[in-house]
Amino acid sequence: MALLRNILIRLITTLVTLFGVAVIVFVVIRVVPGNPIAMMLPPGATDADIARLQAQYGFDKSIFEQFVIWLGGVVQGDFGQSISLRQPVAQLVLGRLPATLELSLMALLMAVLIGGTMALLGTLFRNTRTEGAVDVTAGMALSIPDFLWGLVLILLFGVLWPVFHISGRISPSLNIDFTTNFYLFEALVRLRFDVVADLIGHMFMPALALAIPLAAIIAQLLKQSLKETMHLDYVTLARTKGYGENHVILREALPNAVLPTLTLVGVQFTFLIGGTVIIERLFSYEGLGNMAIDAVINRDLPLIQGIVILFALLFTLVNLVVDMLYVVLNPRLRHA
């Protein structure tokens, strides 16, 4: 019963949040300078032409009226028509979403692996030079933003030692027809490992660029909470039972130390998804973020709205997943 109520509350909050986001985006992109219609017409178009197109897209109405019309469509799953691409926004956005999801999840996986390893090394060799090295590396990784890491990686693995693809999502020469846009997932399921290798070759650098700052945060936070946990009595007790250092860290301390990190990773992961906008542009990766930049450049208002709403929905979902994981991992919350 309590669970059902929680889900219901959650659902309502999500809808309210999305509505708020929709209002803000809708108003802001109409208030800032830049006219979508002006972008569509050749120079020297007459005022009559402009007025005609404005009426066609409904831009002659008040913002409030436009919003009501747009919201009416959204409720029925119609996010309008993209001005620059002349296709339904929903179809465009959902077509690109899998690319961004795969990239973000790959980045998350990398961040957890790298950050987790660093934290464990720092704990295992605490108060030694290794811990110092972990701290310095994490500090450095954190103080450089993801897009700069992207440039560094391009220089290293794209120019000096060209092992990875520096642009795109997949090599056009590959002979495969996808039925979904989850290329990596589909290639894995279909056991096309040549395609998987190609996809990862494209994804590696943008994913790593996104992962490095998050990995640094995970390393620092997880190491800190591991260190605190290592002083607790139940860890000491495990030692007296004859368990070695590795067991004590991995089995006794880690499962409890992971909890505070998890909360932060949830928040940070949403920033990572936000970071895809620039990183996808940098690596010409055909995802949602790249499309978002084009949409902004073209003042493609319906498309911008659609992308922002989808990002907002994604962020809420990430938070939901984190909350659920937290309950699964923390027995003290399980009965609440």
Partner: protein, 289 residues
């Protein structure tokens, strides 16, 4: 060696700092209860931690021997030492609220090491845990074994930790102020329980406490510690009749008597403290020379 646990001239220093334990020598005979008393900061707990190999990393053992069941622990490699400790000794910790892993069920916390380290069959380990929980008067052991620590009271958790300490039939148990964190009404029961279990299982017990009253009830022998130095090793009866060291005598006189509340509190006289401080200084000078 005269004891099951025999500590000879054990010296512990703060890394790059002063001494924490000063040439501690004491014995715990098989099946006997040895009290370790002293004020806060005297280093009582550090002796237990040194024996169990759980000293904080900031401390290091700089001299002496720790003989456990005829083996000098300090002469062993770390892995062998852990094994020897795990197989012969166990700890009853001070604070039952933090000594159980909050993320694991009670059952595995008792049985896992029996299976992992001592090679028991899982069913045997579980049966053993049930019997022990029964022995420490825990109602419905099967249900408790499926519970998480946060679902149980402090007294229950301390009983579980006691049961867990006895699980592998260790021959030495170190109880580090096992009742300090508990409610006064529960303290007495836990004390009696530890004492009963010790008698029944014939385990040697090193009982760390600041409470001489508790020592008088459960211990056979005791050591009095001041500033990391043993000022007196004694048999119980003799100690309470004729304490040899002036500090021991003062400590004994300072112990409140609950049946005589009018007597008030007698502090340890400053002259005695000055004398014992001088003694510690002399020791440091000799050790440094």
């Amino acid at each position: 060696m005269s004891g099951f646990l025999s500590i000879r001239n054990l010296t512990v220093h703060l890394r790059g700092g002063g001494p924490i334990l000063r040439a501690v020598t004491m014995d715990v005979a098989p099946g006997q209860v040895h009290g370790l008393v002293g004020e806060s900061g005297a280093g009582k707990s550090m002796i237990g931690k040194a024996v169990l190999g759980t000293l904080p990393r900031a401390l290091e053992i700089t001299g002496g021997e720790i003989w456990l069941d005829g083996v000098d622990l300090l002469a062993l490699a770390p892995a062998a030492r852990r094994k020897q400790i795990g197989a012969t000794a166990a700890l009853i910790p001070q604070d039952p609220l933090t000594a159980l892993n909050p993320g694991k069920r009670i059952g595995p916390q008792i049985t896992r090491r029996l299976v992992d380290i001592l090679g028991w069959r899982k069913s045997d380990a579980e049966a053993r845990a049930r019997d022990l929980l029964d022995e420490v008067h825990i109602p419905d052991p099967v249900r408790v074994m499926r519970s998480y620590p946060h679902e149980l009271s402090g007294g229950m958790r301390q009983r579980i930790l006691i049961a867990s300490a006895f699980a592998a039939e260790p021959r030495l148990i170190i109880a580090d102020e096992p009742t300090t964190a508990l409610d006064v009404t529960v303290q007495k029961q836990i004390l009696r329980l530890i004492s009963d279990m010790q008698t029944r299982h014939g385990t040697a017990l090193l009982f760390v406490t600041h409470d001489l009253g508790v020592v008088s009830k459960v211990c056979d022998t005791l050591s009095v510690l001041y500033a990391g130095k043993v000022v007196e090793n004694a048999r119980m009866r003799r100690f309470f009749m004729r304490p040899i060291h002036p500090y021991s005598a003062a400590l004994l006189a300072a112990t409140p008597i609950y049946t005589d509340p009018d007597r008030g509190l007698t502090p340890v006289p400053q002259t005695v403290i000055d004398a014992v401080e001088r003694e510690v200084e002399h020791h440091d000078v000799r050790a440094g020379a």
